[in-house]
């Protein structure tokens, strides 16, 4: 131990946290912020994982999110903050006299302050057979893993409990391919959060998704030998099942607290400052009971954590006064929101809209002019603002309908404005429940970190990054903090490293004769000395476009595909597409391709959408060998470059053909071969207006009409289909070439990197392009510049085959040899 450690030991107090979950760790995070060196912190956790976002478990089950994705504080966070952590080791004893805890593994830790944050556990109904294999709760990573494993071996699942948790589990199991039945003791789903109409709408929606329901059913017994086989209900009906998920509720985990002499009821009883009855011991989170309520949602827990952290850090706090909670369920497109007291009672009035056509239901419950509860189904965009009205308790008399219908209240309204509401909101109010972002954190992002859009706030704080439900409040806060600066287009550079835009950069490169990526970044004062994955490839393209004869293409500034001249696939293999001009091949060429594919055991050979042959599933180290044996040029199927010129058979064979589209296609593809561009470029040539080559959804499409050719530009068949627009109609083959090359060079010289022709034309307008190309001399100059560029290209496959320095990067290092030490 060093001296510094010794001197601090006398002043640093010891803090022990029992429970390594969201509420406890959140509290620690705040303590570290408020009083970084006040405590020597030790954490015990029953689960073997670092602190993760339990709310997101349903996303893990629903697919698309991995367990690693939901970790909030990874192990290095504990290390960086000097926290001693004992994962997979629960505290089994607290000696409140000696102020010491003992863990299952026999670790002793003394404390000055102890925080109980043991959370809760899934409540397992005490049914006969509840201890059988295949009966679980839905509470932690282990439960998730059990469900995922079960889905691989079994088909039928039953979820007991039709509340929020049960439905999330059921949806996840459905996604895992299981046949899912939800059993609920009540007559409608989510009866603790929804009223009858909304519950029925939800049921209908979920039934359409394939979920089955047994309502008003009471389970009596779980049967089966060893593993569960079936559920038997009190009406003596039986449901066969291979897995039972109990989602009937959670119970605070208070055994340790009770055994240690803490006052407990449903949870560990705490006061407004999260103190228990024993000095030096606090409780926070789901295990704590405050004014008779043990909360199970994240926002209240975070609010409690803030209060506790302030107290332990010696900062001022008004204490915790309880929370109004809201619930949001978003599983597979069903949006449900509920908050406050949503059921009618004799002293409340309610106002509702039910629209079975669009599947929308809205209800507000009002008492003494105040909004006290709301239910939304199908459209939950107003959820956040209704929730803030409930929390503020303001009088909404006379505005009820406006609010329900979502009409923004005019200046004449009697209630406070949005800005006033935002101002009145306490700084530690949790705005984003999924990621625990407070009002203060959003204020900080806007005022001190330069965020002036919701997107910027999202990437800075993660507010609204998960379910998005809080976006309206984030927007209101943005307006509140940023005032006039919102929406004002602050100047955005091509990436975060610079404030220069594309045109300014290109102009400066030309004017100052900048010749390398490094030079551009130096001279133009880049924030990041080596740029980022956005600006580096952009600059590399611009420099090559401006200085075609002298610029040396910088490989390290290109994306994987363009560096390895092959498309990386999701499994890390690559695909090989050789150039086949116009899509016209020969028996000999096909034999060659087939021979290579067989020799290298290529898993799949497929025709591409652009009439070429694709060898898929090739290992990286085989790429150069395959290229060498194919002995064909690269088809550039991976690059921001000319991809293919698709053709129909034209008048060579087709009885409708008016022109030789094949010959024209091959001519264009041979000329434009190896042309790099801001983004990929696809061409097509059709021999008649029937347009079999689909030329009018290409970057440039040539369509033959009787005695002439039409040139269509700016088409796209991608995510957003865009029909190409007619650029011109020309008579001769030579004119087709002249216009095509001039047009493409003009695009190369003027578009932003990564901007397809469709987006570019949309931005600058077809008229602008027509005007720019109207003068024949201008066109010829453009064609000449393109020809100079094309004159300096080499086939990338050939280059790699012949250069050992490039080729080495395709193979792993030959093998690590151990050395003695």
């Amino acid at each position: 131990m060093d001296l510094r450690g010794l001197t601090t030991m006398s002043t640093t107090k010891k803090l022990v946290l029992v429970g390594n979950g969201m509420a406890g760790i959140r509290t620690i995070e705040h303590i570290l912020k408020l009083a970084p060196h006040a405590y020597d912190i030790t954490v015990f956790g029953a689960e073997p994982h670092p602190n993760y976002n339990r709310i997101m478990l349903s996303s893990v089950l629903a697919g698309g999110t991995s367990i690693e994705d939901i970790v909030i504080n990874d192990w290095s966070w504990y290390e960086d903050n000097g926290i001693h952590v004992y994962p997979g080791d629960s505290v089994v004893q607290i000696n409140t006299v000696r102020k010491e805890v003992v863990s299952q593994n026999g670790v002793h830790a003394s404390y000055d302050e102890l925080i109980m944050a043991t959370g809760s556990q899934a409540f397992i109904l005490p049914l006969p057979g509840a201890n059988k294999e295949g009966v679980i709760g839905f509470r932690d990573i282990k439960d998730c893993e059990t469900m995922m494993d079960a889905s691989k071996k079994y088909r039928k699942a039953a979820v007991i409990g039709g509340g929020l948790l049960g439905l999330e589990a059921a949806r996840g199991l459905l996604n895992l391919g299981m046949d899912v039945t939800v059993i609920h003791i009540n007559g409608h789903l989510m009866d603790r959060n929804l009223d009858l109409p909304a519950g029925l709408m939800l049921q209908r929606e979920l039934e359409e998704q394939g979920m089955k329901f047994l309502l008003n059913k009471h389970t009596e017994e779980i049967t089966g030998k060893g593993r569960v086989k079936a559920l038997r209900f009190t009406d003596q009906t039986v449901l066969e099942t291979d897995l039972v998920v109990m989602a009937v509720g959670i119970r605070p985990q208070i055994e340790l607290a009770r055994n240690s002499g803490l006052d407990v009821n449903r949870g560990v009883i705490v006061d407004d400052y999260m103190r228990t009855n024993i000095p030096g011991i606090s409780a926070v989170g789901e295990c704590a009971e405050h004014r008779g309520i043990a909360y199970g949602l994240v926002a209240p827990l975070y609010e409690q954590g803030m209060v506790l952290a302030k107290r332990l850090a010696g900062a001022a706090t008004d204490g915790y006064a309880g929370s109004v909670t809201s619930t949001k369920l978003k599983v597979s497109g069903v949006d449900v929101f509920s908050a406050g007291q949503f059921k009618d009672s004799p002293d409340t009035r309610s106002i509702r809209i039910q629209d079975d056509v669009d599947g929308v239901y809205k209800k507000m419950v009002i008492k003494d002019g105040q909004l006290i509860g709301a239910v939304l189904f199908g459209d939950t965009t107003d959820g956040a603002s209704l929730f803030s009205l409930i929390k503020s308790g303001e009088n909404i008399s006379g505005r009820e309908k406006e609010i329900l219908l979502g009409v923004p209240s005019g200046g004449s309204g009697s209630g406070p404005s949005v800005a006033e509401r935002m101002a009145a909101m306490p700084d530690d109010d949790i705005i984003c429940g999924c990621n625990g972002v407070t009002k203060a954190a959003i204020g900080d992002a806007v005022l001190n970190k330069g965020c002036n859009t919701v997107g910027a706030i999202k990437s800075c704080t993660k507010a609204s990054a998960s379910c998005g439900g809080c976006k309206p409040i984030v927007e209101s806060l943005l307006t509140y903090y940023a005032g006039d600066n919102v929406g004002e287009q602050t100047k955005e550079g091509i990436c975060g490293c610079t404030t220069y835009d594309r045109d300014e950069i290109v102009a400066q490169i030309k004017e100052m004769g900048l010749k390398t990526v490094k030079e551009v970044m130096n001279v133009l004062g880049w924030d990041e000395p080596e740029g980022c994955s956005k600006c580096r490839p952009s600059l590399n393209y611009y420099l090559g476009m401006i200085w075609p004869t002298e610029y040396e293409d910088e490989r390290v500034s290109k994306f994987t595909n363009e560096r390895y001249h092959a498309n990386i696939q999701k499994d890390g293999t690559y695909s090989v597409i050789p150039r086949i001009y116009g899509g016209v091949t020969s028996p000999a060429e096909l034999i060659k391709i087939a021979t290579v594919a067989e020799k290298y055991d290529v898993p799949m050979v497929k025709f591409t959408g652009g009439q070429r042959l694709d060898l898929l599933g090739v290992q990286k180290e085989n790429l150069p060998k395959i290229w060498e044996e194919l002995d064909m040029p690269s088809g550039f199927g991976y690059g921001k470059a000319l991809r293919t010129v698709k053709t129909c058979v034209g008048n060579t064979f087709c009885r409708f053909g008016t022109q030789d589209s094949i010959e024209m296609g091959i001519r264009l593809e041979k000329k434009l071969d190896k042309m790099v561009a801001p983004a990929k470029v696809k061409l097509a040539v059709s021999g008649c207006p029937r347009n079999c080559a689909e030329a009018t959804i290409k970057d440039l499409g040539v369509v033959a009409i009787d005695g002439a050719w039409e040139l269509h530009v700016g088409g796209n068949a991608g995510v957003k289909v865009r029909t190409a627009e007619l650029l011109c109609t020309v008579k001769t083959d030579a004119e087709v070439e002249e216009w095509t090359y001039a047009y493409l060079q003009y695009y190369r010289e003027n578009a932003k990197w990564n901007e397809r022709t469709a987006a570019w034309i949309e931005r600058v307008g077809l008229d602008h392009v027509k005007e720019a190309l109207a003068d024949r001399d201008v066109r010829l100059a453009l064609v000449e510049r393109l020809e100079v560029t094309l004159g300096h290209t080499v086939d990338p496959w050939k280059e790699i085959i012949e250069d050992e320095k490039l080729r080495k990067n395709f193979t792993p290092l030959s093998g690590a040899e151990p050395v003695a030490h």
Binding site: V71, S76, I568, V819
Partner: protein
């Protein structure tokens, strides 16, 4: 703790990376533009992308799959994303140019 000779300085280009296997772990060794070497597990903590194929900017690499940015010295993921990957100690024999790597455990 075991030490391996994995190759030679000239095997790795600046702002580039090479990979090798130790037992079942694929490790990527990067050479930054200042010539320094950094070895990390070749697996993005996000979706397992091969970092060796990513773009090296300064002391960070951008994952080729979803552009997560990872500091090669600490193994830490840059904000707003979050995560960490294993790093390994590298040494270079000044005379021979041989690269050595130490794997803990």
């Amino acid at each position: 703790m075991s030490k391996f000779r994995i190759g030679h300085l000239a095997d790795i280009d600046k702002k580039g990376a090479r990979t090798f296997l130790v037992e079942d772990t694929e490790i990527a060794v990067f050479k930054l533009s200042d010539g320094s070497l950094h070895a990390v597990e070749n697996r993005c903590p996000h979706k397992g992308g091969k970092l060796s194929e990513g773009m090296v900017c300064g002391t960070a690499v951008h994952c080729p799959l979803h552009d997560w940015k990872i500091d090669l010295r600490s193994g830490k993921v840059h904000e707003p994303d979050d995560g960490c990957l294993n790093t390994y100690k590298t040494e270079v024999d000044g005379d021979s140019g041989d690269i050595y790597i130490t794997i803990a455990g």
